[in-house]
Symmetry: D2
Subunit: 341 residues, 4 copies
């Protein structure tokens, strides 16, 4: 067992954008040591890693899995490697932080879940928005009863620019790589499971996306088990910047957040009265949330508590994304199944 | 033909809330005379009508239809009388202002449309929100290209309190009495016809409404002919007050309106930082819009121009409402047919 | 005595911008008749007056003063004619609505006040902002104790463009023609008399204004009899539009209004996130306030109640303006004397 | 000379609230080591210091001054020790970060300035607000010409609660301990020196403060050398929370910031529509600014550039505070002298 003051030793799989982000955030936390980073293309990250004094920059995941000093593994490698890495880490008795989505296969994800439970390790999924103070406050306003029973949950989630087409080919589709955050947010804020999904989608931003069998614009309607209704609107391209809003409406009121802007500065001229523009994208918008996310993960490990975003949370968001894909194809509402535990 | 300065003589059918509202607004306009008001229960409006010096307060619509001095008929009587009144007024050569919805029957509405066209009279439908300066500006931002091609249209429309159950029985259902305004707004702002509707609804405000076969909470998804997507969220009861918002999102930006509040006054105390509350309901919220609506109607008559909200607009909103009802029943998307002219 | 339903017959002196505004507003009110308008240059207003069916368009004020049918005189002529017109109207037993400032001479104003009191007629001064629903709500928040004891009152008041230099020559100076509204607002919202004024001013907008002995930019600090402090900032030119804000801060909180914009529409593009721009100037910004102002004046006459903005209010605002001028000249704080009644 | 990658070794004088804050922030920065903290009551900070692994927790400043390894001294001890500490550190060749105000004596401050210049060390004064991204953006909007020539600068600065009376006795008065930040902000945003100050003040929050010869509520008017005017309103107690706003108004427009709130979450109920409340006080409100402040200080040292908030900035803010005190006493405007260099 890891006690309060013991240093936690971390290994990181994947030195891409999100892996680097987590490493840099962990370096600011007390009593956390990032010992090893493994990436098949580690040469691209060597300069960065050395400047940060990371002891081991390696190619092989087993340098992490086989290192008995390492307590925790961050899985920031591509989605198609997740299952193998999760199971290896769990079998090595290491606690796991895994980026979303867990995988593209419900069956494989459930198998990994069994391995985690069998080894009794902790596993947190990287739904960073739960750790944003604005979204967390909305969730608190709902769960503490300030708006009464939830009737309508409304999420707007738009990216500032579409991903490149190579990414689209391998991402699992818009619902799996982008909307999955909104599906998690819907479950998080409502405190209820989604039972049914209905989708209208289109490819309005870039017709090339349509040729790859994906969409870039969607309205997704949700029915929750508790009877409430939800709606998500998505676009791959909001030219004014990343747009992240939510509103929960209920029997006693409503709570909402407007999009976050860089500053609260206003500029009035003969031409216009302008607010500041939104923060560019998720790295800027959720900067503090990413720090909170790993702090709470380490807190859960140190105090042997439940992690704040569980493996089941990852499974369910993935299932809703899968149902949304089916609804888009069939032009009909599709049921979402809960897992049995 | 009515020239610019000629006085226009008006007859009004129905002296209920909306009839009285139009009369009081018309009395402030130059060169408009409200000569006759007809209502089977005119005794309830006599004191009011006399205080306003209305010359004739009668029970019989024919006192209006047969009066050659009367140029214009306002039809503010119950929906089930509309068709008969429209056809009588049109056959008497009178221009018509008719409240929404036109009727509950597409067939009857189309018949009335033929009578109107045959008699070559003008007919405006009372979708008052088009004349609100906020909504009109959003429409202008879209039609003038400020947001590029429309991708997503989002409408929030919530009443402050549910209607009484007697009203629910005869109103034609939530889509026909309440959402019909939102359907019109969707067509107005998008500048496109709705081709498909998909609904998720529930009865969360008052279970008695459910027993009457109606709902009080809904998410309605729209597909437009031009490819754009739309979504409307409705509730019969927003405890904080009437809530009317819209956002149009497109390839070059977005334009939106927040809910209108009574004043812009803020109050900060040790307990809270509060804005003012919303205007109570449609009479307060659309006070100026109701005045603009009739002014523009009379302007169209005087200048022999197209009215700003046509009979066809009334037909199409009614058809979308009908399709929404079918989608709710069948739990499937339903197509909306355009009319042939 | 004028009873509730009796028609009130009005004569108007001055057919300039503000005279016309009041006439057009009065024409929308029930049981008010504008019988006669007098202006030495009445020929410039004849087309306008005839279109509105005003019975008498004359040059001579005595056509109003000597007409026993006329109950009420609106004095909208130049400031230097006010005293003569007030005294003539009062001596003719007519109730008076007079635009601000009453005069440039405290002595003459006090003399006119005696004539009014001797004749026992009502006299309302045209401080229109008191009748704006935003400012009225702030006053109500203060007088009802919502912010506790007033500590600081802050007023921002900036015109969209400087007046022409001819106007500057005859207006009595910025404090007398522009800030006088803010001085009235300070007394109205605080519910207290101003006891001392201190000014820093400069001519930053247009140096020509300085050559005429006036300023165009000022910070005016106020001490109230109840101990509270106040500050007004003025500019003759806010290029983004008319800017009218107020904040009252006290022992239990604060209440404020932001500047009023034309609509609540927001537009977000790749370049900026813009609110709508402010309403251009006082005619647009205080449109409803001007209507409320005359409605409340006529209500006071019909019900024989105190008018909502008294002749004393006019005297005191004028005295503060005079003290501000002295403070600017002497670069020292200057006391303001209350009147004895 | 200290190169980019060399570790900077820091000594800190004073382990009170602000000293601890700087230490905790420095621990998150790369290549900064806090080696020694000196405080006569160091025993109160031992538990805290040991948990952070600070090597030396001592009572004597000379343990810092005499340590050749220490490059930088943070002076966070009481104001009446500043001069002695500044001079000792400068004579020891150490770079200095000193909290505000430098001292209560212009003469002593100028002497310390000579010692600093003679020893050619860097000295930054702790006006943290310059490093807040909102205020920095306002300054940038002004200095980059976005609002043209500055005409009016308006600062609202109110604390959430008055200090205890013991603090009032030794703080140098409200202008020296609180408004001094606003005086610095006025110079920073305007880019101009203040040439004249005029004050109206009162003791409205707590009459005990008045008995100690101080005030708790003030309006301070400023004249800048460039002709612009400024105004600061202060209160020792805003019951709704710390209130920090600024507006710069000029020939081509205006730029402003509203008060910063904890989140952007809104809550609408049947009772009210509420924003979140302000961040409690300076530690919460300027959390990020304190980090930026020391980061920029170390950046200046590493790159041998001018510090972003100079000793002269400290002198001038202190002089304006002194002039404000004189104006309050004399009830007259008071000139501020610039220093000759």
């Amino acid at each position: 067992m890891i006690t309060m003051n013991k240093k936690i030793i971390v290994g990181v799989l994947g030195a891409g954008r999100i892996g680097k982000l987590h490493v840099e955030n962990m370096l600011k936390l007390p009593n956390i040591e990032v010992k090893t980073i493994a990436d098949p293309f580690i040469e691209n990250a060597e300069e960065w890693g050395k400047a940060l004094n990371i002891p081991n920059l390696v190619k092989e995941p087993k340098k992490i899995m086989n290192d008995p000093e390492i307590d925790v593994v961050f899985i920031c490698s591509p989605t198609d490697t997740h299952i193998e890495m999760i199971e290896a880490a769990a079998n090595a008795g290491k606690n796991i932080f895994c980026e979303k989505p867990i995988s593209f296969s419900d069956e494989e994800t459930l198998h990994a879940y069994e391995v985690i439970k069998k080894n009794n390790v902790k596993a947190q999924i990287g739904f960073n928005r739960r750790f944003d103070k604005n979204f967390a406050r909305v969730e608190d306003n709902v769960s503490s009863g300030k708006i009464g029973d939830l009737h309508i949950l409304r999420i707007t989630s738009r990216d500032p620019e579409p991903p490149n087409l190579d990414y689209v080919k391998s991402s699992g589709g818009m619902f799996m790589d982008m909307t999955i955050h909104d599906f998690d947010m819907a479950r998080f804020v409502s405190g209820s499971e989604v039972s049914e999904v209905s989708v209208m989608g289109n490819s309005l931003v870039n017709p090339e996306i349509s040729k790859l069998g994906d969409i870039d614009t969607a309205i997704i309607t949700l029915k929750f088990e508790n009877g409430a209704l939800g709606v998500i609107d998505n676009s791959r391209e909001a030219v004014y910047g990343y747009d992240q809003r939510i509103e929960a409406f209920g029997s006693k009121g409503a709570t909402e957040i407007e999009n976050e802007l860089d500053t609260r500065v206003k500029l009035s001229t003969g031409d216009s009265v302008s607010e500041d523009q939104p923060l560019h994208f998720f790295l800027e918008r959720y900067n503090d949330a990413y720090v909170n996310e790993v702090e709470q993960f380490f807190y859960a490990i140190r105090n042997n508590e439940e992690v704040p975003c569980t493996f089941k949370d990852g499974i369910m968001a993935q299932r809703i994304a899968q149902a949304a894909k089916e609804s888009l194809m069939s032009n009909k509402p599709v049921k979402v199944k809960n897992i049995k535990e």
